[in-house]
Symmetry: C2
Subunit: 468 residues, 2 copies
């Protein structure tokens, strides 16, 4: 199949996607209704249920699909032949697991009963946990394949699909699975759909991703909870110790103070900074959208640089002592915090983890103790701006959307991209249709109906372009 | 009734207490089984149930007893005439509410199903929430009255009893109730049973009590929970802000840094410090008992001075972000902490509260906000060492226990003592039979069987001495 062939096949596929939108939404709703919260062991059965649902859907399209057990939640792997000898073999990746939904009382709708609603701007949105991250996104590709197959009885290129169920909980089973199945999963490159558009009119390909190190620390002092009257002023308070550790993580200029933290972090070239500046994202707009106005991190840098090209230390959760209603004059026996680091450039996850642990231990009194629990680690990624594959995808996206596609950085971590590079020798093309107000990881997550619809059309266009 | 008369009446009362121990325990168990957790609105009905139980018990002894409504949990008030014209009128105070029981999984027994067990040293203990704080303690006085009345058909002095149900949650209804019922409640002095012995052989009268200011602070940043990848490094993190505030509360020497905090705090006279030193409580013993070894507060002071005569700032609880199992890369919209201050000398609760709020506000970024919730406030108290009433109580206690009674300080707060002084013009005599390992406010609270038994005998002796 040559370029003209695939391009000629495109139009009826786009029409089929348009005609089939209601049915594709119905399928998406089925998947969103499955509460596949990977980080909470109480939802293990639901994670497996989501995997089985996806495997069955892929089989119905004609993929050779299977649910594959791991030590954690299962993987879904599916294969379909297609295209000419020149057409690439692509590996498409998504994740079927979702974030927890607490605090549940802040949701306007049931997180696991999707609805279609009108947003304030009149556009239609799909509500529910996972609609944007990542169930709705991964289905844009599946539905594009379904349309192409149903129109032409074939696919324009060879496609392997990998869906995991532990992306929101550190992907503990991913590396072993990639290593054990490298021959089966290796393709020419990967397509990953777990990112956002620049704005509602401007599609984007992410060429930089921050890495992630997760750590949970627990400080222990007395061997029991104490009455703060009898012991206050004499006994160590683990919340004080923890607060001091966390307060020490940043200096007055917002820089992380852990020794060696910035080793491997390069300054972003001026031309890249200028390009980002030209996207017109002011600090005021970026922060105003979430009710803030002052950049909180390293002083003197734009919000795009702070979130795309600078490393961070963030406390994601803290708990200790009495946190119920009313008051309890207690000195807790222990206090704990979940801390994550976003990494860029050549920062090494395990070096950062070790430096953090040393930093904490140096601040624990001799009669108290601290323990650490690891929650994943991955380095930052920078993808080549100038690869032909990225250029083809960029052109295909620019054909579908009102404005040309932008090559952007990204603040979040998608460890799979690093694993594809290191374990399978594959680069990834990161295309997604999320929007910055999708509230992923928060109450009232949503996905634009337009993202779901034009996302499918975008993948059809990208497949046609890649096959050419 | 003269001194010889009351003293002559004592011996059969002590025998009756001994003979009636099993029945008095049965009554105590009934009260402990009522989960009267005042700080949690879910237990309102149980608080009322405890009040009604006490009122009925007092009525059965012959008191004119009633449950009295307040805006919060009810009071119990009871009156009984007694004694000669020279005998004093005493107001006995206790509280029937208890602390929450979380974390429940750390209890070896059901907190609301009391048991009698053998402690490691072979002594018998009564397990359960409230056995020591304060249900078991208040019943020592009630049972002493019961024995005296059943032997002699009278009491050696006029007794008014006040039990409240909000001591563990800041006593919001207490001052209004005392003001509205001052004429009914005013006595010559108060007897308060909510304190501890010096050790298992040495009874104690507390002549100093720290005051308490409770504050809950909530820091708010973005208007929603954020993905730490997309916003980390640019958006304010309320846990960071809160950690900085809390870490700033103490300097490197353990002193509280809030401006003006130490105004009204006097250094303890050397002779008092020497007296405390003679009690033989080493830092090692005091802290070793709770698994610690290093005094954590102001440097260069003994643990007794730190807990009896120095003010503190303690964080009693903290929460923010994701605190469940696993990990969630979220930047929370808000974080909160419960903070309490123990006050001594002339520190003014409302001045301290205002200074703390200014201290916090000065550390909140301009685009974030903080709110405060008040949880009670009372000044510290120092009672006269040399009053005749305290001397009589000291002698009576010394007759009952193996070692003479000690006059000690106390780290906890009993706001009622300040309210009795300011609203009713009454001093209080603080006598209690708790022990330092009673684990009050913690899992596995207990009360020594000996405390319950000899506590009743102690009150009989004190009443006899006061009536003389």
């Amino acid at each position: 199949m040559n370029h003209a062939g695939a391009a000629a096949q495109l139009e009826p596929v786009l029409s089929r996607i348009d005609d089939d939108l209601a049915a594709s939404l119905k399928r998406m709703f089925e998947l969103v209704r499955i509460p596949s919260i990977s980080t909470d062991p109480a939802y293990s059965a639901q994670c497996r249920q989501a995997a089985e649902w996806l495997s069955a859907e892929l089989a119905s399209i004609g993929f050779d699909a299977s649910v594959r057990d791991t030590a954690g939640h299962p993987m879904v792997v599916a294969h379909h032949e297609g295209g000419s000898a020149d057409a690439p073999h692509v590996l498409f990746y998504g994740h079927y697991d979702v974030q927890p939904v607490d605090p549940l009382e802040l949701w306007d709708t049931d997180p696991f009963e999707p609805t279609i609603r009108n947003a304030a701007d009149g556009s239609k949105i799909i509500t529910g946990r996972g609609t944007a991250d990542d169930k709705g996104q991964l289905l844009t590709f599946v539905e594009a394949c379904r349309a192409w197959k149903s129109v032409h009885g074939s696919l324009p290129c060879r496609v392997t699909i990998l869906f995991e169920g532990e992306e929101e909980s550190g992907s503990p089973s991913l590396k072993p699975f990639l290593q054990a199945n490298a021959g089966e999963l290796k393709a020419d490159f990967a397509l990953v759909c777990d990112t956002s558009m620049w704005d509602a009119e401007t599609p984007a390909i992410s060429t930089g991703l921050r890495g992630l190190v997760g750590e949970e620390i627990t400080v222990r002092a007395a061997d029991r909870d104490l009455h703060s009257g009898y012991f206050g002023g004499a006994a160590a308070n683990p919340i004080h110790i923890l607060a001091k550790v966390l307060a020490d993580l940043h200096d007055e200029t917002g820089r992380v103070t852990i020794p060696g933290f910035y080793e491997g972090v390069e300054e972003t070239p001026d031309e890249i900074l200028r390009q980002w500046e030209s996207l017109g994202a002011s600090n005021e707009d970026f922060l105003g959208a979430i009710g803030l106005s002052l950049p909180a991190g390293e002083q003197g840098r734009s919000v795009l640089e702070l979130t795309w090209a600078r490393p961070t230390a963030e406390v994601n959760g803290i708990t200790g002592g009495y946190t119920g209603e009313g008051f309890k004059t207690v000195i807790a026996a222990e206090a704990s915090a979940k801390v994550s680091f976003r990494l860029v450039g050549d920062q090494d996850p395990e070096t950062i983890r070790a430096a953090f642990r040393d930093f904490v231990r140096a601040r624990i009194p001799a009669d108290c103790s601290v323990s650490f629990e690891e929650h994943g680690g991955s380095p930052g990624i920078r993808l080549p701006y100038d690869s032909p594959v990225i250029q083809k995808a960029k052109d295909a996206l620019s054909d579908e959307w009102p404005k040309p596609a932008a090559l952007i950085g990204m603040g979040g971590s998608i460890p799979i991209v690093g694993d594809f590079q290191s374990l399978l020798g594959m680069d990834s093309v990161l295309v997604g249709f999320g929007l910055s107000d999708d509230r992923i990881h928060s109450p009232n997550e949503k996905y634009a109906l337009k993202s779901f619809h034009k996302g499918q059309r975008s993948w059809a266009r990208i497949m046609a372009a890649l096959a050419g």
